[in-house]
């Protein structure tokens, strides 16, 4: 019977710890993958953007807490895909080299030659492993880094885009093995025949981007459209990013959005002139050039020197960025947004909606599982009650010898503590074993019983993320011991209040 109580504690401890570890691992993986392209912190002024950003970057990079900063433009737009579909996307203009210093851009480019297969690709089916693709993939990787694609006819490198791997629909995801193939699509012709088309975006696909440029006041001027080749595709593991973001060269997007460097003219320079010979009217722009409007960006992405998974370090980085921006705004007063208006967001601020949602989900699931674990408390209670009934005469003997009520209660509570301790040790060990081997166990379940709890096609992580946090493990461990003591409490008090004479006569 005592073993049964310890087992109940062990199972509940293991259950709560496994759930917390998997959910925690999910959050941690999500947050890490969310940071891969957002950097640690961003200074942003959406739509109109701000100029003199190179000066700001120079100032930021001199700060001891900052490793690097990179200019980017973020704009909403439309994309016309190779199959004619039109989708809304987030178009992000980057300079490949500087952006790689503030993000994991280099690592998220999917199409590249690799030597080792991804974790679930046990059959080595990944196209990137094939020796015959190596040279082409090497070129595709370089294209991705430079955001260009060489035109085979002219031999010239033209600006290109790097969309998330789910944007174009040309890469087919094999969720089970965590890899992508070029897609093959059936097209039905008017005469009833069917033709098969195969596409590999980084080699043969083009997309058309549509953006809405605005003037310095943020008002939309007119739509700008540009057809661009696909250079590579990226995969962060976060569906929202992989399905919605398209990278493009920074200066290309600046031109499309009319955020490039341009002469500044005085206002009201247009007038109508009538040709004296023909009598025709024509519009004459004789506005004087009075200066230069500097190129603008909407964001400056910053990477800190400290580990910014620590929130205190992130706050220090934010304070440093605010301080540098204030100096910068002072130096360009009237030309850049005031330091009181500029938006400086940490990666946590940027992902707060999803992070908070997942955190709330973790709390909810934990509360549910803790409630379920209360079963262990009642199980220990009933087991102890039964044990105490069985030992009534022994309790009477101890009381007859002079054992105090608190001594008898303490004895049972200590017994409960020992059982709880045994259960918690077993449960924690079980949880560690399961969490550390969760993927092999999951695969075995799939093979042996056909059960697939974690479908990578839904969750977008190819492996189940799980991480045992020592602090969480300690809490759950203490909770396991506490629940056993709590379960033993009422029976212990009952034992303590027994009348020795009646206990001795108990049959």
């Amino acid at each position: 019977m005592p073993l049964l109580a310890a087992l109940a504690v062990a199972l509940c401890t293991a259950m709560v710890l496994i759930v917390w570890s998997v959910m925690g691992g999910f959050l941690s993986t999500f947050m890490t993958s969310g940071r891969t392209i957002s950097g640690d912190l961003v200074i942003e002024w959406p739509n109109a953007g701000f100029g003199h950003y190179q000066d700001l970057i120079g100032r930021l990079e001199k700060h001891p807490l900052i490793t690097a900063a990179a200019p980017t433009i973020e704009s909403f737009g439309l994309i016309t895909l190779p199959d004619g579909r039109r989708e809304t996307v987030i178009i992000r203009g980057i300079d490949g080299q500087s952006f790689a210093k503030v993000s994991n851009y280099n690592e998220i480019l999917w199409w590249r030659p690799i030597d080792k297969p991804v974790e679930r690709d046990t059959k080595r089916m990944d196209l990137r492993l094939k020796a015959e693709n190596r040279q082409a993939l090497e070129q595709v990787l370089q294209n991705g880094l430079s955001l260009t694609r060489t035109d085979p006819r002219t031999g010239l490198a033209a600006p290109a885009v790097v969309p998330g791997i789910h944007v174009t629909g040309t890469s087919y995801r094999d969720g089970e093995h965590g890899i992508y193939f070029r897609s093959i699509r059936d097209t039905f012709n008017a005469d009833g025949t069917k033709s098969e088309t195969s596409a590999f975006a980084p080699l043969d696909s083009f997309v058309t981007l549509h953006v809405a440029p605005s003037d310095t006041s943020g008002n939309v001027i007119q739509m700008a459209t540009r057809r661009l080749p696909v250079a590579n595709e990226f995969m962060t593991g976060t569906f929202e990013a992989d399905n919605k973001i398209v990278f493009i060269q920074l200066d290309e997007l600046q031109r499309m959005l009319q955020m490039h460097e341009a002469p500044r003219t005085e206002k009201g320079g247009f007038r109508i002139e009538i040709d004296p010979k023909t009598g025709d009217e024509r519009l004459v722009d004789d506005a004087k050039v009075i200066g230069v409007d500097p190129a603008r960006v909407t964001n400056v992405v910053v990477r800190g020197k400290e580990d910014v998974s620590d929130e205190a370090a992130l706050e220090r980085l934010k304070a440093a960025a605010e301080e540098v921006y204030a100096e910068f705004a002072q130096a360009h007063r009237g030309e850049v947004p005031h330091e009181g208006n500029i938006r400086i967001k940490t990666w946590i601020d940027m992902n707060s909606t999803i992070i908070n949602a997942v955190k709330k989900e973790i709390s909810l699931v934990l509360v549910l599982f803790i409630i379920i674990s209360l079963v262990a408390v009642f199980l220990v209670l009933s087991i102890f009650w039964s044990m105490i009934s069985e030992k009534t005469r022994d309790i009477g003997i101890l009381r007859a010898m002079g054992a105090s009520r608190s001594g008898v209660a303490g004895l049972w509570l200590f017994y409960g503590f020992l059982l709880g301790l045994t259960g918690a040790i077993l449960g924690t060990a079980l949880a560690y074993t399961i969490v550390l081997n969760i993927n092999p166990i999951h695969e075995w379940l799939g093979r042996a019983l056909g059960i697939q709890v974690w479908d990578p096609r839904i969750y977008y992580f190819t492996v189940i993320p799980a991480k045992v946090d020592t602090f969480h493990a300690s809490l759950v461990f203490a909770g396991g011991v506490f629940s056993a003591v709590l379960g033993a409490l009422i029976p212990a008090l009952h034992a303590a209040r027994m009348n020795p004479v009646r206990a001795l006569r108990f049959e």
């Binding site: 022994d394 003997i397 007859a400 010898m401 002079g402 054992a403 009520r405 001594g407 004479v501 001795l504």
Partner: protein, 232 residues
């Protein structure tokens, strides 16, 4: 001054909705070193009287009732003080031995010392074990120290219970029909042993029995009839 004196002691058991008076005003005094036998038929209240004297139970609430042990009325003691009284001053021997089945013979004796010393037992462990071994030698169980009660005969079990009752050197030894569950010969030898050990230790001894032969060995016989002391 008597070691323990009982005055107008009343005790009622409740059986369902019925009150059953067991003791109806008992007066009794026991001098230090005295051997008193309480004689009476079944249901006369002998065991109840012994339990009340030993602080195992509390009498009915009555301002005239008292159990005075060395000048202190134990009926008015707190639970904690009554526990100390039981462990330090009283040694119990029961008819049905009441040994702890999971413990060995030696542990069954040592546990009484453990109960008395509480957390201080750690420093007393060696002395208590030596004392228990000595007592078990004295009762002829030196070869049974590590046996469990289930492996012993009735007589042997009662000897273990006697050793346990004596380990804390109580002033007052209370025995409730100690030979009642044994055959005549064994009962006799147990009684002899009990008497010789209490003589050596000069302990006050109150024994409950319904056997006139056992009672005859006592310094004084107290007869109980229907919850009252009657003239011998």
């Amino acid at each position: 001054m008597p070691l323990i004196s009982v005055a107008n002691l009343r005790h009622t058991y409740r059986l369902g909705r019925v009150d059953v008076p067991v003791l109806r005003g008992v007066d009794l005094s026991v001098e230090e070193g005295e051997f008193v036998a309480i004689l009476g038929a079944s249901g006369s209240g002998k065991s109840t009287l012994l339990h009340l004297m030993g602080g195992l139970d509390r009498p009915d609430k009555n301002p005239d009732s008292s159990i005075v042990f060395r000048g202190e009325d134990i009926t008015r003691l707190s639970h904690a003080k009554l526990d100390t009284y039981r462990s330090r001053d009283i040694g119990f021997v029961f008819q049905f031995y009441h040994l702890l089945p999971e413990l060995t013979v030696l542990q069954n004796v040592v546990v009484a010392s453990m109960v008395m010393h509480g957390f201080g037992f750690a420093s007393q462990r060696a002395a208590a074990t030596a004392e228990a071994t000595g007592l078990l030698n004295a009762v002829g169980l030196s070869h049974r120290l590590h046996h469990r009660p289930a492996e012993l005969s009735g007589g042997e079990r009662q000897r273990v219970a006697i050793a346990r009752a004596l380990i804390n050197k109580p002033v007052l030894l209370l025995a409730d029909e100690p030979t009642g569950n044994l055959d005549r010969e064994t009962g006799k030898s147990i009684l002899e042993m009990l008497l010789s050990m209490r003589r050596e230790r000069k302990q006050t001894f109150v024994i409950v029995t319904h056997d006139p032969e056992t009672a005859a060995r006592a310094d004084r016989i107290v007869r109980l009839l229907d919850g009252r002391v009657v003239p011998a």
